[in-house]
């Protein structure tokens, strides 16, 4: 189908919303009525045509508006995009991966013509027509990682692999769930996950790292993660916590369906060929609670998950204060009926 790109905002007047198409393909993250951390990895293979799992880099109706929001974030704070000096080659790897994937998966939107190192990239939705020399930074307006991630939805952490660990040595991070690239850049896998409660004790990170160190070229992996966000804010960075934190107080039972959002991250992991780095795209999908409950199974299940979530996790995910209100509102959509297994609508 042809994607109808929307003109909407993720700040100020918050005009973001999902079409029925986008709601029905939303990556609802709970496959059962409860939640605990796990290393929930699976191969990132094309799955369920039309879903967000069909293509390597999903493009949806929010594409142009998300890219405009990213440009605004970067104009206000250029430190959201950083790359340590040894990561430039990984940036070219990433540019190649995205250009090749998008031109193959969305030939009507993106085109890539390659003649040796002379490349021609056309991004029709954004109106970009760029001829450049692969591996020659001087021929692009930005470094390779920044250039391509200004045209691709989702955050990107580019991880160097050495000493049996992964190091957060580059990234484009403008749609994050409250962590700072500028603070975390240069950290290893355990260090940047240090603030996460419980998961270290459960051995989650040791197992996850072991898995990730062995991700092979051409065999990407994926998992889902989630949190809750008041207002459709892509940029819930610690840098701007001063601005968005206070908005949590505005939540009422009346504005709940429009103001409270389930925020889901589709996290994928690709091995990069020249640098042997691992790229970790973190794609943020937002859905209003009012949109969630249009799928009866999701309304019931979200109520049960949030109601039974351990306090520590609700605190870490930042909605402990609003949890009673959220549960009260969602309970109206939970008739106690059993839910079917798996994440998809019935």
């Amino acid at each position: 189908m042809t994607i109808q790109f929307k003109d909407e905002t993720f700040r100020d007047d918050y005009t973001f919303k999902n079409s029925e198409w986008a709601v029905n393909r939303f990556p609802f993250p709970f496959h059962e009525d409860s939640y605990m951390y796990s290393v929930n990895m699976e191969p990132h293979q094309s799955f369920r045509p039309g879903s967000v799992f069909e293509h390597r880099f999903d493009v949806d109706e929010h594409y142009l508006s998300e890219m405009r929001d990213r440009a605004q974030v970067l104009a206000e704070d250029p430190l959201r995009c950083q790359s340590l000096p040894h990561m430039t080659l990984a940036g070219w790897d990433l540019l190649e991966l995205i250009m090749v994937s998008k031109s193959e998966d969305y030939p009507d939107l993106f085109q890539l013509n390659r003649d040796d190192n002379n490349w021609h990239w056309i991004n029709k939705p954004m109106g970009i027509d760029q001829k450049f020399t692969f591996l020659d930074e001087a021929t692009l307006p930005y470094g390779p990682m920044e250039y391509i991630t200004r045209q691709t939805q989702g955050d990107f952490a580019v991880l160097d692999q050495r000493d049996d660990n992964l190091w957060m040595d580059a990234g484009m991070i403008t749609t994050q769930a409250d962590w700072s690239l500028d603070f975390d850049i240069g950290m290893n896998f355990f260090e940047w996950h240090a603030p996460v409660p419980k998961a270290h004790e459960l051995g989650i990170f040791v197992r996850a790292l072991k898995f990730l160190l062995n991700v092979q070229q051409g065999l990407p992996a994926r998992r889902l993660n989630w949190t809750m966000t008041v207002n459709p804010l892509l940029d819930t960075s610690p840098e701007n916590y001063s601005k968005w934190g206070v908005q949590k107080q505005e939540l009422t039972l009346e504005n709940m369906p429009d103001k409270m959002h389930l925020r889901v991250e589709l996290q994928t992991f690709f091995r990069l060929p020249r640098s042997n780095a691992l790229v970790f795209p973190i794609r943020c999908y937002l859905i209003k609670l009012g949109e969630v409950v249009t799928v009866p199974k999701w309304g019931r299940r979200l109520h049960r998950v949030l109601r039974d979530l351990p306090e520590e996790l609700a605190t870490y995910k930042g909605f402990i204060g609003n949890r009673p209100k959220i549960i009260e509102w969602l309970s109206r959509y939970d008739d106690g009926a059993p839910t079917s297994p798996g994440i998809w609508p019935d």
Binding site: P195, E239, G245, V246
Partner: protein
């Protein structure tokens, strides 16, 4: 005074050891305040002649003259006493630039000194296997405000006020080696004006 004992903490928080003399062609010892005691303790068991190949850089801070003469008595090949870490950085960078393979580095004292000197050493290409650290003295923290990025040195209370933007920040255990600082985050972001009374957590 023995070296500091810290509560178990999250994984980005640095872990410190106890300095021990190691074989090496050259030695660089950097300490602030009570960190001098770590060097003096190590010297008691150090092989003879170690200090003839050693440069000591010392920042006394509030300890004044307490340790200067004792360190001098070790007869290091070079001895520098500086008024602040910041004042010593260009010298340190020069020393590291001249370093050869086999240089052993010893860092002792506060977290701010250890973290910043380690960053310089790692940036200069010194392998982490040639670096030792020992915490002594004040547990005051070097903090970065996540909002304005300004660094506030020697923070002893939680919350504290950012020396740059004035926001009231709570002290996290999350630590960046690159910045050599802990992270400070606005404490009243969700409820502006509701700032708890600061408690002295670090001495």
């Amino acid at each position: 005074m023995t070296n500091s004992v810290f509560e178990p903490s999250i994984k980005s928080r640095p872990v410190y050891g106890t300095l021990a003399a190691r074989p090496g062609k050259a030695h660089l010892m950097i300490a602030d305040a009570e960190g001098a005691e770590a060097i003096l303790d190590m010297a008691q068991t150090a092989p003879e002649g170690l200090f003839t190949k050693t440069q000591i850089m010392f920042i006394p801070k509030a300890t004044g003259d307490t340790y200067v003469r004792q360190l001098q008595a070790l007869k290091p090949a070079q001895f520098y006493v500086g008024p602040s870490y910041n004042a010593s950085v260009s010298r340190l960078q020069r020393v590291l630039k001249d370093a050869h393979m086999g240089l052993q580095i010893y860092l002792a004292g506060t977290e701010g000194l250890i973290g910043q000197a380690m960053f310089e050493a790692v940036s200069a290409g010194i392998p982490h296997t040639a670096l030792q650290t020992e915490h002594r003295g004040s547990t005051a923290r070097r903090m970065q405000c996540v909002h304005c990025k300004g660094i506030t040195e020697d923070v002893t209370t939680d919350p504290f006020q950012c020396a740059h933007c004035g926001l009231h920040l709570f002290v996290r255990d999350h630590y960046s080696r690159r910045i050599a600082a802990f992270q400070g985050v606005r404490i009243d972001a969700e409820d502006p004006g509701n700032v708890p009374i600061p408690v002295e957590r670090f001495k």
